[in-house]
Amino acid sequence: MKPVLKHLMLLASLAASSAHAAEYRTVLPKQSAISFETRQMGVPVAGGFKRFTTQMVFDPARPEAASARIEIDLASIDAGSVEADEESAGKLWFNRSVYPKAVFTSSQIRALGGNRYEMRGTLTLKGKSRELIMPVSYVPGKTAATFNGAFTLKRLDFGIGEGMWADVATVANEVQVKFRIAASGK
């Protein structure tokens, strides 16, 4: 009796999971983007990262079980100009030879109603880890869903732009970060 019951339960759980609309796991890098905006002398300057890898699981039926981990290759930065790209590698900024990556790991995802969610997690950058909370919207699509999020990062929390660059009147402390992650379901 017992093995049969186990089988039945397994079947039931399989049936249940296939009944879900989708579970998104496969990230589509070409349709995903991470961008940011800094302010220099009051002037908004657009930037972004070209290379990053995302591991994620999201099932709209079970958002609390969702998770995301994003790893950004800091060498792929576009900081607005070639000069700024080069400068950002230095010790006062990312100190990239020691800390080549930024890593975000989600800790909790909460449904806010509609297709809106709140994601909490930890961003580790330049050896410092800080908790972040950000809204994420889920946009279902035919072949892939898109997850859009935005948050404000305070660069000095991570020691980004130290020494002469610490003056926030020249380069603002707040950096607006936006991301769009596209993932196909199965």
């Binding site: 220099q40 002398m41 009051g42 002037v43 908004p44 300057v45 657009a46 607005g80 100009s81 000069e83 700024a84 400068e87 002469m164 660059w165 003056d167 020249t170 380069v171």
Partner: protein
Amino acid sequence: MTPTLRYTTPAVVLHWLVALLIFVGFPLGVYMHELPLSPVKLQLYSYHKWIGITVLLLAGMRVAWRLSHRPPPLPDSIAGWQRQASAAVHGLLYLLILAIPLSGWLMSSAKGFQTVWFGVLPLPDLVGKSRELGDALATLHQILNFTLLGLVILHVAAALKHHFIERQPFLQRMGWSKQERT
């Protein structure tokens, strides 16, 4: 009635304001672009842009003044070729004080840095970000500026020559004193 030999007060004020801003903005531009990236460099670039946009605004006012006024006539002793040269140089100077800030503004946009006047008033980006266009506009900005430098030297030299060598009250044309109306 004898013709006035002096530009009107608004024209004189605008002339010297623009001159002053160029005498600050030009060396600033030459100096700042060689600097390694630093907060000071970002600050100087902003100040340079603010100066340039101010010049553009004042230059627009000067052109409006010039289109609606006649400059005081040149003394009869001035030779015909000098009159033509004077008209050409003045025309080019008016053109350059408009074109130089404009080329700087466009360059800034092409390089992906919007111009925000005094850090408060964002000017629209009239061109999109483009490496090639940015470099081309930088070269243009430089050529126009060194043309301006040459013309300003000519302009100042001619005024000083007429004033001190030919002993005609040339500097009073752009002077503050209204007593030169004779």
